[in-house]
Subunit: 434 residues, 2 copies
């Protein structure tokens, strides 16, 4: 059997998982690749650190040049993460005629055009299954399996940290801060969780998904996004009363108005497959014009699930399939037209609204009047009797679920209502995914 | 752009969907294939029948030889179904150096070794994504994306007819016969639904899945199977009380005892992803040693979903990827060892049991004693007060959910209990998938 030498950059969680698969399952992976894989180099920051894997045949070094300058190495696996110096290293690897496997969604979302331009220039391929949805083969599904389809919409739960926190808030009524702490204790959230909870990580992944599904070169900054960091347990509870759960969704929809993209906490109908995606799991719902509704579900992070995707990519690269896919897909190409994004005025949805209103006569009427003048029709209302727990005169929550409405109308109505002098606290507004 | 000529055998539901995609979405498919696809021949039984597709450039003929003898045709798409003469036609197409795309699970389950042997002999490829799960890319997932994994278990809902019937029985309490009639009226069941409802179609698909996931050459006859045709609404209701729904599952598990395969109505815990797969939808749960739990969900049948899979295969074949996959996977190879199947004595599960017992003192005690002597531990019991609706002395249902138990012990206990003279009607026994 022919052999192929590869270099691994980074031996953190994902890198360790990749090394373990390559060492411990070498026979299986060789059989499925058609070539035996030699993990020749592993580049780390600290060569003396104890690792969770035995690497009898790999040379552990700190200098990435050892890999880049070795003409025997045909594939570089990048699990360093971050943008710099990862970008420069990846560009050099491609210039040195090595294929690249990466799990780095931020790199692709921000610098996909540069990376793929370089790959095309040097006739190399870049594989990135692990960049979205961890072990879920969504990149393969969108890039290859669903090739007969024009994707019409995507709705994705692709941040396990947020989904874990939301599941705890939903099931146990835990406030956001405690749920976040629990996620950190269990290793589902980083010490600094900002990029996860503010929706940035989800937006990176949506940029990658949009590239595959809609051939749309999107920068993360173009995606309107809202995280879960200001979400209150009360809204999760009221959503539950209305028959919905709240999920942080990456949404993309193609319509006559263009491509609509958004990352936001969204109400999802109970009993539908996305609603049941709990804890650290991820799922991507894809609607194609031929295939209809599909859903891909699995672990979105973690050592071995992510390593499963990285090594799957490696098998694809080594066997020669990735080169074919790369040639036909023309991803992150500069020659692609700038995608037309749906203007906010054309966005329609049902909306969940919560107002903290003064408990006195006429308030509901004045709110309903504003909504009515903006053409927003009310589907259901929740206002519970505050009972004796609250001092008289305390603001009470008024929850309204609208019928389909224009986002622009909703925004105008909220501005007007917040200026009426009868609502306390800024009003809450969440979209609904049917 | 280079061009490639293909021939389509059959213009039934799936064939019409394939032709529609090839004609109406020609540009999209050409771009993703890297070559423009000419649908040159369409072979039908009745050339005068009105079809749901315009085929301006294809020649509609009745003689399959026109396709087989045309050296320009590089790929044959088989949507005729059935075993004969489909098998002979496919073998001739391969001998004529044409690649084959097929949706025919029965053909693969029964004659996979012959078909793939012929393909290897003539250096051709066979693609079969549409044979299991309709539009769900499960063949690609098992054969390519999850290549880094040893699959440990599969649990699949792959017969939309059965799932539609079970959903109706569960949600509306409809008896089996009426649910089947409703499925037939809505086009979800054939006029002769035998192969669907008796589990044969699911067993065919399990044979294909086992080949991909476990490299196991399994004949349908080796798979113990039970259909839904004798399932009673009462058992679905009691399962519901215990927190389960009943699904017709194709099950495969790898353990130290070998490979366990089964098709049977099975209790699935509510709130888990498989339990929520409703109506005509399909889903396949795959557990891999690296990736962990995954689920693939979508429409398991129908014109366009199945055509999506067939045309996806065609794109894969034409682009050259299938040839690579075909070479590395070595599917349905005669050289593979005969798989070791788990002996019935080593099968363990939780079990749902229902007995129709005489409503008199001591009966529960005698049943419980038999179960105890066979080492079967009881987890929960349901016996409702028959009330005044039933005449005194009528048999009453006794439902028992066991803890983990050996299948052999359960069978022995049921035999003994059925011989006690205190139970009416044969006892019901269903496995539980946790």
């Amino acid at each position: 059997m022919e052999r192929v030498s590869v270099g691994l950059l980074g031996l953190g969680t994902v890198g360790t998982g990749v090394a373990r698969l390559l060492v411990e399952e070498a026979d299986r992976i060789a059989r499925r690749s058609g070539r035996a894989i030699d993990l020749k180099w592993v580049v780390v920051r600290d060569p003396h650190k104890k690792r969770g894997v035995e690497l009898p045949n790999a040379r552990i070094v700190t200098d990435v040049r050892r890999v880049l300058d070795d003409p025997e190495v045909e594939v570089v696996i990048e699990t360093m993460g971050g943008i710099h110096p990862t970008l420069e290293t990846v560009l050099e690897a491609l210039a040195a005629k090595k294929d690249v496997v990466t799990a780095n969604k931020a790199l692709l979302a921000e610098h996909g055009t540069t990376v793929f331009g370089q790959a095309r220039k040097y006739g190399r391929a870049v594989a990135f299954e692990a960049s979205v949805g961890g072990g879920i083969p969504i990149v393969q599904a969108l890039g290859v399996s669903l090739a007969a389809n024009q994707v019409q919409s995507l709705a994705a739960i692709v941040n396990g940290t947020c989904n874990f926190i939301l599941t705890a808030m939903t099931r146990e009524g835990t406030p956001y801060e405690s749920a976040l702490r629990k996620a950190q204790e269990l290793g589902y959230a980083e010490a600094d969780p900002t990029m996860d909870v503010d929706g940035t990580d989800t937006a990176h992944k949506l940029a990658v998904l949009a590239q595959l599904a809609f051939e749309a070169n999107i920068k993360t900054a173009q995606i309107p996004r809202q995280g879960i960091d200001r979400l209150q347990t009360a809204d999760i509870r009221y959503a539950g009363e209305l028959g919905y759960v709240v999920k942080l969704l990456a949404l993309a929809k193609l319509s006559e108005f263009g491509l609509e993209l958004r990352v936001a906490p969204t109400l999802v109908k109970k009993g539908t497959p996305l609603a049941d995606v709990s804890g650290p799991y991820n799922a991507i719902r894809v609607v194609g014009d031929a295939v209809g509704d599909t859903l891909f579900y699995g672990r979105g992070a973690g050592m071995m699930p992510t390593a499963s995707a990285v090594v799957g990519d490696l098998v694809d690269v080594v066997s020669g399939r990735t080169a074919v896919t790369f040639r036909t897909l023309n991803l992150w190409s500069e020659s692609k037209p700038v995608p037309k994004l749906t203007p906010p005025s054309a966005v329609h949805s049902r909306y969940y609204l919560r107002f903290m209103i003064a408990d006195r006569p006429g308030v509901l009427a004045s709110l309903a009047t504003v909504l009515g003048t903006k053409g927003i029709s009310i589907a259901s209302v929740i206002q519970h009797d505050p009972g004796d727990d609250e001092p008289a005169g305390s603001p009470v929550p008024l929850v309204i679920m609208t019928h389909m409405a224009a986002e622009a109308g909703i925004r105008a109505a909220l501005d007007e209502i917040d200026g009426l002098g009868v609502v306390h606290a800024p009003s809450v507004c969440l979209g609904v995914e049917e």
